[in-house]
Structures are given as structure tokens and as C-alpha cells.
């Protein structure tokens, strides 16, 4: 039965790709789990070196990719869901493609699906990076996700190692409830702030409900936090990111201090969020016994995960794609754009499909205003382009400098027509807007299909 199920599911993936019905990144797994529900657990148990699971609102795809790159340097063969299909079906599909020599699983897991997938995957390492408000129509309130993660952590066996971002107040508290835990976090630095952004979420103490104090915030509510009422505070990290230097849109350098040694890292992806991602990846690899030199090499030779800091050339113009699908992620992308003095030709594409979240209220929680004076031209696209246009209009962005082209074909034509005058094109798409854009770019030969990644 096991062999029949495997055969049919694999065939479905091949047919799906031949028919161009998508990458086949979830369908085979979906079929497999219908035929044999225990299969995910069975396949995960076949991995001798265990399973690493990475979950977060933002950064899980990039971090999983960083870990995979470093592990590749150490010549361990692994299986991973690199295309970003991070529900049970996507992981099962990845496991179907496992090669006989693969010893390790590296999976990014959707934050809502995590509690139900842990018993299936029985990971040796679980990495919890951050939780921000995201697609409230789909995920529900942040508090309910935190509660589910709390219950999940309580039922973890001692042998499962947790690696947790100490700078996220909710996660820092949750991590402290497990004995086999290591924390990572970044030192106070010149890129932080003392003001909580508008869309800060975890600002109350998980233990006593009092308002938290922040000595410094980095991204959203991440930072150096403490509760003056009950004394709960940011746990002391095992892995500390320090000496951070963000090199405009090119990447960053920083050091990780752990116990007695300090390792310098270079990451070719821009922004403080990628320092967090790299620090998480370092912590995972280090805790898994990967040599520092291999981690250094794996991180410095990294290419972007698709749609995340990815550079695509179209009509002779380089365009940077920065996926922006929730307030914390979008704000962090805007902060990153402020690292350069250059004026930016900004393109934002807002869709409202299931994978984006059908509720687009969140655009009002994004602090777009911070980059108004850096915008050379603004182009607005997507299913809900006019809602986005209103977001800018009511913040006094001049409509004369706003081009509204809802369709992806229209967007590419507009970019082509104005390519002479474009300088630094940065595109902030939601998830399906990014898929649409890539698929359209693929049609005109500017990029390749996402299932051909790796």
C-alpha cells in the first residue's frame, strides 16, 4: 500500500508540471496524505539526522534557505520545502522527492499549522523566530496563535531543542517554559529605535498583562523588553548579533558572539530582518554541530529566496522584489529602502486572494509615509490597487505622481514604456501578486518558473 500511494502521488506531481497547472509543490503530498494519512510521519522518521522545523510570521523561507546553504557546505544531504509550500501537503510533497542519501529534513512551517505538524514531524530542532499580526481573516488573532504555540511547547519532549528569538516578548516568554532551549537576539544598535511603531503587537507581558517597557525596538515589537510589574524580561541569548553594519541595499556584516568566541558573518541580503534571519540560521547550524566556516560560507554565497530580495532584469532595468504581505514585513522593507540615499521607483502590488488574506485593512497599518520623500515615481497595481491608491492619497501623496495599473500585464507594459526614466525599481508585492508578476515575467522570458528553483 505504501508503495502504491507513493507511486500515484509522484505521478500526480509530474502530470501537474507537464500540464503547467503549477509547480506541483503541494498536490502530490495532498493526494498521498488522503491515501495514507500516516505517511508524513513515516517519511519524516526515515531521516536519520532528524528534522529541523522553522516557523515565524516573517523570514521563514529565507532562514530555511540559509540553513540549507550552510548544511550543503558541510556536505550533508538534506530534503527541504524550498518552494515555500509550508503546510502538511507541501512538506509531504518535498519528502516524496527525498533522495536515498538525504539524512536531514529542513522545513519551514506555517505558523498556524505548526502545532498539528509537530507530532507528525517529531523534529529534533524547532526554531521560533517572530509572531506579528498577519492575515487576520485566515490566522485569527495573534493572541490565539501565541496560545496554540504555548500549548504546543508544553507538550514537547525534553529531547526537542527549541531555538527562540529572545527579542520577541511573547516568544521569549514561551521559550523560557521549555528546559531544552537556546535563545538568539541582537544587541542594541544604531538601527534600532526607542519608539514602538504603530503596528506593534506583543506589547503586554505574557505573564501578568502589564504594559512592557522597551529599551530599544528593532522591528515591530522585537527588541530589548522587560516588565516592571512582574520582573519578566528578555532572556539572555546564547547567540548574540553584534557590530551590525547594514550596507545599503547590498547586504550586511555582523558578528555572532556565543560563549567565548565571536564569528564574523556576511549576508548578501539587505536589511536588519536579514540579520535576524542569518542569526537564526547561525544558531540552528551551530546547535546542529555545523562548523562555523561552513556557516560563514553558506551565508555569504546565498542567493535570494524567490520574491525575497530577488533581482530580476526586465526591459533592461533591474528590479528588486521585496515580498510585503503584512504590516511588520512591509514596514521592515520600507526601513530597508531608507538605507540608501537613492530615489526609488516604487511599485506596490496588492492582491486580496486567499493566500494574501482577503482582508486588506492591513495596508493602513503600514507606515508608507516614511519613504514619501525618497519616492521618484509610484506605481500601484493589483486586485485592490484603488484601495492602495487611497492609502497614499489620504496621506497627501500627490496623485499626479501616482500611476495606477491594476493588471499585471498593464504593470509590465507601464514599466517597459517608462524604462528610460526608471532608476532604482523596487517592487513590493503581496504573495499572489508576486506569483502573478513572476509568471508574467516568465512568459516574457525574464525569469524562470519557481518550481525550477534550487
Amino acid at each position: 500500500m505504501r508503495h502504491i500511494a507513493l507511486f500515484i502521488a509522484k505521478a500526480a506531481g509530474t502530470i501537474s508540471r507537464i500540464l503547467r497547472r503549477g509547480g506541483g509543490t503541494s498536490l502530490p503530498g495532498m493526494i498521498l496524505m488522503k491515501m495514507r494519512p500516516t505517511m508524513l510521519r513515516e517519511m519524516a522518521q526515515d531521516l536519520e539526522d532528524g528534522v529541523i522545523v522553522i516557523s515565524a510570521t516573517n523570514g521563514k523561507t529565507t532562514t530555511a534557505r540559509m540553513v540549507a546553504n550552510a548544511i550543503q557546505e558541510s556536505e550533508t544531504s538534506y530534503v527541504a520545502n524550498t518552494s515555500g509550500a509550508n503546510l502538511a501537503s507541501g512538506i509531504a510533497t518535498a519528502l516524496l522527492a527525498k533522495k536515498p542519501e538525504d539524512r536531514l529534513g529542513i522545513f519551514e512551517v506555517d505558523e498556524a499549522a505548526l502545532p498539528t505538524l509537530i507530532p507528525e514531524l517529531q523534529p529534533s530542532v524547532i526554531v521560533l523566530m517572530n509572531l506579528f499580526r498577519d492575515q487576520l481573516d485566515r490566522y485569527g488573532e495573534l493572541e490565539s496563535t501565541i496560545q496554540k504555540w504555548k500549548d504546543m511547547i508544553q507538550s514537547l519532549p525534553e529531547t526537542t531543542k527549541l531555538i527562540v528569538n529572545a527579542d520577541d516578548p511573547a516568544l521569549g516568554f514561551l521559550g523560557s517554559q521549555h528546559s531544552n532551549v537556546e535563545f538568539f537576539g541582537i544587541e542594541q544598535n544604531q538601527y534600532g529605535s526607542v519608539i514602538l511603531p504603530h503596528a506593534a503587537d506583543s506589547i503586554h507581558c505574557q505573564k501578568c498583562d502589564s504594559a512592557l517597557q522597551f529599551q530599544q525596538t528593532t522591528i515591530g515589537h522585537l527588541g530589548h523588553w522587560s516588565c516592571q510589574n512582574c520582573g519578566e524580561q528578555r532572556p539572555q541569548p546564547t547567540f548574540t548579533g553584534t557590530n551590525i553594519n547594514l550596507n545599503e541595499l547590498n547586504g550586511s556584516e555582523f558578528s555572532v558572539v556565543s560563549k567565548s568566541n565571536s564569528i564574523d558573518l556576511e549576508v548578501p541580503l539587505a536589511g536588519l530582518h536579514n540579520v535576524y534571519n542569518a542569526l537564526a540560521a547561525f544558531s540552528i547550524c551551530s546547535a546542529s554541530g555545523i562548523k562555523s566556516s561552513n556557516i560563514q560560507k553558506g551565508l555569504s554565497t546565498l542567493s535570494a529566496a524567490f520574491g525575497r530580495n530577488e533581482i530580476i532584469t526586465y526591459a533592461g532595468t533591474e528590479m528588486m522584489l521585496l515580498l510585503a504581505k503584512n504590516p511588520a514585513g512591509a514596514n521592515q522593507n520600507l526601513q530597508t529602502l531608507l538605507l540608501t540615499e537613492e530615489k526609488i521607483d516604487l511599485v506596490i502590488s496588492l492582491n486580496d486572494r486567499t493566500a494574501d488574506g482577503k482582508d486588506i485593512s492591513w495596508i493602513w497599518d503600514v507606515d508608507y509615509d516614511m519613504i514619501f520623500d525618497r519616492i521618484a515615481t509610484l506605481t500601484i497595481s493589483g486586485d485592490r490597487a484603488y484601495d492602495l491608491a487611497l492609502r497614499f492619497y489620504y496621506s497627501d501623496f500627490p496623485t499626479s505622481n501616482m500611476h495606477i495599473v491594476p493588471s499585471v500585464e498593464g504593470l509590465l507594459n507601464h514599466l517597459k514604456d517608462s524604462c528610460e526614466s526608471l532608476q532604482r525599481v523596487v517592487i513590493l508585492p503581496t504573495y499572489t501578486a508576486m506569483l502573478d508578476l513572476r509568471s508574467q515575467l516568465n512568459k516574457v522570458g525574464a525569469t524562470h518558473s519557481f518550481w525550477e528553483e534550487q
Binding site: 488573532e141 498583562d209 485593512s361 486586485d383 487611497l390
Partner: protein
């Protein structure tokens, strides 16, 4: 220059759906007509003085924050009721409509009292009502289509003193059963259309502003028309994405 005084209640606790968009729209639509405006945030533990505001906004929050706010509102409810009696304009959305009513009974049967400026009562249902919400609204004898998004567990039923803001064309509205959505009583409006409802419903925004200016000056203003072409396009797209044909 007439200054319209807006109170934003609990902006820290009740803000999860981009509620500040509504404040931005109110201010800009005043500014574009030559009125000035002020926004005063009032949070937990702070006093609410009903004599210094023309319009009071309350948005949506997480359950945990809504409970904190419900308790704090007990201390402000007399002042809020006196404001409502005096003709102050209220727009309370999402969790706000529940807090404006007589009370909320949660899934464990616990009762959280409301402010009592809308004759309605709410109890928790067993599943959340989530999705696009389109309604035919009526205010001051005028009708208009409104569009928004709802996400709530509460089932709200109106008493005799409140009238629905509109009838549901798409979505669930107050309770998913009687096709009503929202509530209006004097100048108090509650609705389940959450977050930034005013950007693409300029008719509603201007209705609130007309009332707020009247509250401030005593006279009914004739608001000059604005170019609402973007607003109308956004509304049409939202209505058609919700699957309503017109």
C-alpha cells in the same frame, strides 16, 4: 476657522485592522473643505470629558484587549452617555459596536457590560463570521451602498430604540440571521464593517462630518463636493470582489 474635535478612544488597544485610516479620512475631508480638526487619543485610565468633543471613534481589538477596554469603559460610560444625549457623533466599529450596546455574553457565559449608547445586545456564537460585507444603508432618509470587511464571533440583536445601519446584500452583518447590519441611534453609529471603512465609503464619512459640524456650530453645513473618483473606483472594485452584481 471651525475646529472639529475628534476623540480617538483606545488607539493603542483597539487598532488591529488599520483603524487609523478612518481618522485620516475624517481629517482630510475636513481639511479639504476648510475646516480644521484635532484628534485626542484617550486610553485606559484617562478621563473622557464629553463637553470637548464633536466625534468619538472606537475601533477593533483582540479579545484580550477588548476585555481590558470593556472594564475601563465602565468608568467612562456615564460621560459617554451624556455625550451621546448631547448629540455627539459616534462611530464605533467591530468590537466597538459590541461595547456600545447593553453588554456581551462570552462563550463561557460570562457577562461583560457595555456602555449602553446603542439599544442592542451581543452574545458569542460558535464560529466567527468572516468575509466581505456589502449593505444598503440608510441615514437621514438617504440611501447608499456601503462595503467593508467583517470578522467577529459576536451575534448582535437590536432592541426597539436602535435601527439597523443597513440591510445586508452580502455577508453576515449583525448576526447572520436577520439580514441587518450595524445600528443607529440618534448620532451613534455602530457597525461590523471593521478597520478602514471610511476611505471607500465617502458618503458615510461625509454624513458623520455633517453631524459633527452641526454638533460644533449648531447649524447644518452644506459640505462642498470633493473629487471622489478614486474612492468610488475602490468601492466598485470591493463590491465586485465581494461577488455583488450591480
Amino acid at each position: 476657522m471651525t475646529e472639529i474635535r475628534i476623540c480617538h478612544l483606545y488607539p493603542k488597544e483597539m487598532n488591529i485592522y488599520g483603524d487609523r485610516g478612518n481618522i485620516a479620512v475624517l481629517q482630510k475631508r475636513l481639511e479639504r473643505r476648510g475646516y480644521s480638526s484635532s484628534v485626542t487619543p484617550i486610553g485606559a485610565g484617562e478621563d473622557f470629558n464629553p463637553s470637548i468633543f464633536d466625534l468619538c471613534y472606537l475601533g477593533g481589538g483582540q479579545d484580550r484587549d477588548q476585555i481590558i477596554v470593556a472594564h475601563d469603559l465602565q468608568k467612562k460610560s456615564a460621560a459617554l452617555r451624556s455625550g451621546a444625549e448631547d448629540g455627539m457623533v459616534f462611530l464605533w466599529v467591530c468590537g466597538g459596536i459590541q461595547l456600545a450596546g447593553e453588554g456581551y455574553t462570552d462563550s463561557d457565559g460570562r457577562r461583560i457590560p457595555g456602555v449602553g449608547i446603542l439599544d442592542l445586545d451581543t452574545s458569542a456564537g460558535n464560529r466567527r463570521l468572516i468575509g466581505d460585507l456589502v449593505l444598503n444603508a440608510e441615514l437621514d432618509g438617504e440611501t447608499s451602498t456601503l462595503v467593508g470587511y467583517e470578522n467577529h464571533a459576536g451575534r448582535t440583536f437590536l432592541g426597539p430604540d436602535a435601527t439597523p445601519l443597513g440591510s445586508v446584500l452580502k455577508g453576515y452583518g449583525n448576526n447572520g440571521a436577520d439580514q441587518t447590519e450595524g445600528a443607529v441611534q440618534e448620532r451613534v453609529i455602530g457597525t461590523y464593517m471593521h478597520g478602514p471603512i471610511l476611505p471607500k465609503n465617502p458618503w458615510l464619512a461625509d454624513k458623520l462630518l455633517t453631524w459633527a459640524i452641526e454638533h460644533n456650530t449648531g447649524g447644518i453645513p452644506a459640505l462642498s463636493p470633493l473629487d471622489d473618483s478614486l474612492e468610488n473606483l475602490a468601492q466598485q472594485v470591493a463590491i465586485s470582489r465581494a461577488g455583488v452584481k450591480r
